[in-house]
């Protein structure tokens, strides 16, 4: 039943992503859809950590930043091929995440929020300050992406690449959640001592999922750097971390569909709010507060319940 409903969801998302281009009127909307897809992949990883494993992170943009800057610096300054730079960023992220995972994940609740927030802020300060490498606050130009000599260019190609990645991520995340590892992860969220009693190693499970979601963020950071062609410290800022967290919670914790919806809604919303010139920030905040009060569990779980599914 569960697998069945996942299969249906996956197929529906696939069809949706395939017909979406027919509805996209111009390059601007292609761009938004691509960004939403990239965000969705990061948010799915973050949701595995937050929604399923019950560990909060307020510093995930830091990992996005490592990927983005690894790609930017290694390809533009040292002439590495994009895929190698991307892999190097992912490796560095995995190493750092593993290094901090154990001490940080031993903490709970607000302490964990504090520690991940601190890590993210330190990373973003490094990106801002080490300007001989990163270009500092002015940013750095990134070479276009190419894979095996094939360059990815134009909004259409980028859309299809990111849509395909999103679909693969959804499929993989669904399988992960339903696997024995996924059950151990969810058990930690609901009842850690009980999970321990049946032989789940909390530290190992939490560390694995933390590293996995960090590496996912790093890979998408690399891709974003090539896609946009430019990286600034903004990509790793606290506000970006908050944005990612917001996508998880607004979409719905422990809901893969929710992650996609959350990423899409919160990528498009600021664009719609630009018509309230100067009031975007306040308007975004208002929408956020109102949504969370009306639907504390997030859009997808709440709507699903109301529609009786």
């Amino acid at each position: 039943m569960r697998l069945g409903s996942r299969g249906v969801g996956l197929a529906m998302t696939g069809i949706g992503l395939a017909i979406l281009p027919l509805l996209l009127p111009n390059a601007f909307w292609y761009d938004l859809a691509t960004r939403a897809a990239i965000n969705a992949v990061v948010v799915i990883g973050l949701n595995l950590l937050i929604g399923y494993a019950g560990q909060i992170s307020l510093g995930h943009a830091g990992f996005v930043g490592i990927g983005a800057y690894a790609s930017a610096v290694l390809t533009s300054r040292l002439g590495w091929p994009p895929i190698a730079a991307m892999a190097a960023g992912a490796l560095a992220t995995a190493f750092l995440a593993l290094l901090v995972a154990r001490p940080i994940l031993r903490l709970r609740g607000h302490a964990l929020a504090m520690a991940t927030l601190g890590l993210g802020i330190i990373l973003s300060m490094i990106f801002t300050n080490e300007s001989q490498w990163t270009g500092g606050p002015d940013g750095i130009v990134v070479r276009p992406f190419s894979l095996l000599g094939l360059a990815i260019a134009g909004e259409r190609q980028w859309y299809w690449l990111c849509a395909a990645l999103l679909l693969v991520t959804l499929w993989a995340a669904g399988n992960l959640v339903d696997s024995p590892f996924g059950r151990a992860m969810r058990a930690l969220h609901t009842a850690e001592p009980a999970a321990k009693a049946v032989g789940v190693d909390p530290a190992a499970v939490k560390a694995s999922i933390f590293v996995l979601s960090a590496v996912g963020a790093s890979l998408m950071g690399s891709l974003t750097a090539h896609y946009v062609g430019f990286v600034t410290p903004q990509v790793a800022s606290f506000l970006t971390s908050v944005e990612l967290l917001t996508m998880v919670v607004v979409g719905g914790m422990a809901s893969l569909a929710g992650s996609v919806v959350g990423a899409a809604v919160l990528t498009v919303l600021p664009q719609l709010l630009t018509r309230f010139e100067g009031a975007e920030t306040a308007a975004f905040g208002l929408v956020l507060v109102a949504t969370m009060i009306a639907m504390p569990r997030g859009l997808v779980p709440t709507l699903r319940e109301r529609l009786g599914r």
Binding site: R106, I122, L239, L245, G285, L288, V289, M292, P296
Partner: protein
């Protein structure tokens, strides 16, 4: 040598006193409601910005500054009533998002109203530095440290000696038991937001002549206040003050002796190191966890 050290120490204690007030704000709200109010930093920003505005329209400072504090306290109450209370039963992460949303609303509103310019508040009593053992001490630093110390003393008196203060302490230690002996939790919650907003505004006002103020100063001030509160073992008032002062001094020393470009990273490095070696904070109680 000594003069240099004293100089860094003074400036550290000055910012540290501001962090301490912000940290107390976090602590009070956390104790009353278990909510980490990420909008706390915006209360500091609001205090500074409203004080600047009230002085601009010609109010004397003995009216403008207290009025700014009262206004921010009222905003604090409104935040609790409109945003926190309706979501009282939500999960912690949801509440975190709500307070982050509130901070966006407050920051965005001030940005709309006052723009992105930096504003200065005049020092309370001139800017002729006082020389102490070769170090120049700005009179405003004395104001910051003095006012913060007075606020802490007043707060201590409130929690130890008054009926409402005791009700808040009781709620923090056991909400159900407090309710059973007749404490009205709703009032305690409202009071805690009013108090932490007022403390934040006070901190924002006294430091504004030194660090200047603009619509976005609340982000860093708030985060550092949060670090200070956690450093002191979240929930402890003494810890919050000590944490704030310690952070301020460490930051000033690092900026003076090591590198000023990483000054803002110091609190976060400190807290990460602390977590690795002292996971319960400097003053945190070693409470067993309930299963």
């Amino acid at each position: 040598m000594l003069a240099e050290f004293l100089q860094f120490l003074f400036s550290g204690l000055t910012v540290g006193a501001t962090y301490a007030l912000a940290a107390l704000g976090f602590t009070i709200v956390y104790n009353a409601s278990n909510v980490i109010n990420f909008a706390q930093g915006e209360f500091l920003m609001l205090g500074g910005m409203l004080a600047v505005f009230l002085l601009e329209i010609g109010l004397p400072s003995w009216v403008a500054l207290p009025a700014a504090i009262l206004l921010v306290a009222a905003i604090g109450v409104a935040v609790e009533r409109l945003a926190i209370r309706p979501a009282r039963d939500a999960e912690v992460v949801t509440l975190v998002i709500i307070t982050l949303g509130v901070s966006l609303v407050l920051r965005g509103a001030i940005q709309m109203w006052r723009g992105t310019a930096t504003h200065a508040l005049p020092p309370f009593s001139g800017d002729t530095p006082i020389m102490v053992a070769g170090a120049a001490l700005a009179p405003q630093s004395l104001w910051v440290i003095g006012v913060a110390a007075a606020a802490v003393a007043l707060l201590w008196w409130f929690f130890e000696r008054t009926r409402w203060g005791k009700a808040m302490v009781a709620t923090a230690s056991n909400r159900l038991a407090a309710r059973l002996v007749g404490v009205r939790i709703e009032v305690v919650l409202m009071l805690s937001f009013a108090l932490s907003a007022a403390l934040g505004a006070l901190g924002g006002i006294i430091v504004a002549p030194i660090t200047l103020t603009s619509f976005d100063v609340g982000i860093m001030l708030g985060l550092k206040g949060f670090v200070a509160a956690v450093l002191g073992g979240l929930g402890s008032g003494v810890g919050a003050v000590a944490g704030g002062l310690l952070l301020g001094v460490l930051e000033a020393m690092a900026a003076g002796y090591v590198s000023s470009s990483y000054k803002d990273a110091v609190p976060f490095v400190v807290i990460l190191l602390l977590f690795m070696f002292l996971p319960r904070g400097m003053f945190g109680a070693h409470a067993p966890e309930r299963v």
